[in-house]
């Protein structure tokens, strides 16, 4: 249960960081904004690890597969490309399209890691897509009515 709440909290934090980063990018520029974002994050996590007396050891890094280090760089690509693409399509579609990309890649990755395709995850994912589509339509009608 605690993990479920944590995963939902992750969604809250995603929106918060999108709103904050987009407003910062608007004022100082996309790449400068991302730079400040990473410096801020690095300071916070440095303080946390120092407080917990956890330190990076070279021996620990040697055994890690190289691809595992690429997540941080992918984050930069995602932030920069979102700042370009998301303003160009209505939010109702961007949420939906990004989710479709996420969920089906998620199913494939779970298959590669655990080597079984979960029918429940595919069916459940499709139902989630339906729900998002339904709410998108409600939003769209509301916008048309108000105009």
């Amino acid at each position: 249960m605690i993990y479920i709440i944590l995963a939902i909290a992750g969604g809250f934090l995603t929106i918060l960081s999108m709103v904050v980063n987009a407003s910062l990018a608007k004022r100082i520029g996309v790449f400068q904004g991302a730079f400040i974002n990473y410096i801020g994050g690095l300071i916070i996590i440095l303080l946390i690890t120092m407080g917990l007396r956890e330190y990076l050891h070279m021996e620990a890094l040697v055994n890690i597969p190289f691809y595992a280090f690429l997540g941080g760089a992918l984050g930069v690509v995602i932030v920069a490309s979102s700042n370009v693409i998301i303003p160009k399509i209505p939010t109702i579609y961007s949420t939906l399209l990004i989710f479709i990309g996420q969920i089906f890649t998620g199913v494939i990755i779970d298959y590669l890691r655990l080597s079984h395709v979960s029918k429940g995850k595919i069916i459940g994912g499709l139902i989630v897509v339906l729900g998002i589509l339904y709410n998108s339509n409600v939003d769209k009608k509301q916008l048309v009515d108000e105009n």
Partner: protein, 140 residues
């Protein structure tokens, strides 16, 4: 065309969450985030140098706008911990559910300087459908 790029962003996000989750398995919750930020900062610094852009700090920007990095640390922490237990697809579905709830709240109350769009009761039906989907994903 931009819609295809949006799907592509979704694919990249899932790959990133998986890579970060793998790193988390080797280094633990906190040191993995340290490495993620070191790599990210190197990448963005490389882009700035390559594009010859100078980093800027403006004094008239409200302080909370500089908190994005701190929020990001909490976000990666929450994602990594739930990923190791719930797997990629369920973590993402629950995350989207959280995103929809908070963005509806922001729209309804016009929080953080956003325009106000009142919550439409009909949207409860959509949230119900999404919840059914998530429950199916959880059970199987």
């Amino acid at each position: 065309m931009y819609r295809i790029y949006a799907i592509f962003i979704g694919i990249l996000i899932t790959i990133m969450v998986t890579f970060n989750g793998t790193l988390d398995g080797y280094l633990g919750n906190y040191l993995s985030i340290l490495v993620i930020h070191l790599v990210g900062l190197t990448a963005i610094a490389g882009i700035l140098i390559f594009k010859k852009i100078k980093p800027v700090f403006k004094k008239d920007v409200p302080l909370y706008l500089y908190s994005g990095g701190a929020i990001g640390v909490l976000l990666v922490l929450a994602n990594n911990i739930s990923f190791s237990t719930l797997g990629a697809s369920l973590t993402l579905a629950l995350g989207v559910f959280g995103q929809l709830i908070l963005s509806s709240a922001i729209d309804h109350y016009g929080l953080m300087g956003m325009d106000t769009y009142k919550f439409h009761k009909k949207k409860i039906i959509g949230f119900g459908i999404i919840l059914v989907g998530i429950i199916i994903m959880t059970i199987y």
